[in-house]
Amino acid sequence: MGLEAKLKQDGFFTTTIDALAAWSRKNSVWPMPMGISCCAIEMMAVGDPKFDIARFGSEVMRFTPRQCDLMIVAGTVTYKMAHVVKKIFDQMPEPKWVIAMGACTSSGGMYRSYNVVQGIDQFLPVDVYLAGCPPRPENLLNALIQIQEKIGKTRVRDYPDQPLEPQTIQQN
């Protein structure tokens, strides 16, 4: 029901709830690893004990979109794959953020070609872009920290309820 989003004024109670919700959301960012290509190897490296991502709260990388907040798109996105990525992004519940990892997702990378999407921001709203081919694991952790800072500034009223519009739900 989104009870907390109904708080509109800026009193002490509301800002405390804001701070609490933002703190809990930013310290438990569970990524959805959209590992398509070589950047996925660096993302796997971020998952293992040397560059631990679990110490930042991303304890599990759930491979289902239903339980994730953050989508890390790691790898070259072709036009055929773009539909799959968009569909999985649509199936993630709010609030959600996107990291565009590597050169291929930021701008097409070294693939200036007819079948590679030149930057995933053509169909996804991206929050943090990462440079590198592939970016080092510490670079991905830096991006995660920036996402956490961005989440820390959100307020609970940014995500109000939005009831489903009355229409027949079609399975596509």
Binding site: H83, Y114, F123
Partner: protein
Amino acid sequence: MEFKDLLLNSIKENLHGFEFVASEFRDELTLSFNKKDILRVCHALKNNPDLSFSFCEDITAVDWSRRTNRYTVVYHIFSMKNKFRLRLQCDVDENDCSIDSVSTVWKTADWEERETYDMYGINFNNHPDLRRMYMPEEFEYYPLRKDFPLMGIPGSLPLPKK
């Protein structure tokens, strides 16, 4: 004698009326011939027990972008018994853009010819399942032709909306 001489002698003995041009580049032998002989030659090369070219490594094409004989279909075949690689080349004209399929000789030629069809638009006669491989089924162009632009035709590949 070397396998190369054995090969050329064997071809001269077993295949009659077969004209070809043999060229060599850095120890790689290439035979160029008319495309109507392709099936006969491939059967002979595979089924001959001395030659036994049992593995078709790749089938691809070259677009010369000239008016006659625009494409050349290139077959790379390998004989595991003799450890010998051979290249076969056949010219294909743009107006009669088809060649016989060798998928009855080598099973791997099935997908390799599908790839060549997808990228160049060359039809393979008697192919069991000729359809696009990399591009979506509704794609109307052939990407590796010389007249296809590098960045593609805008709007030919659908992108999801933001």
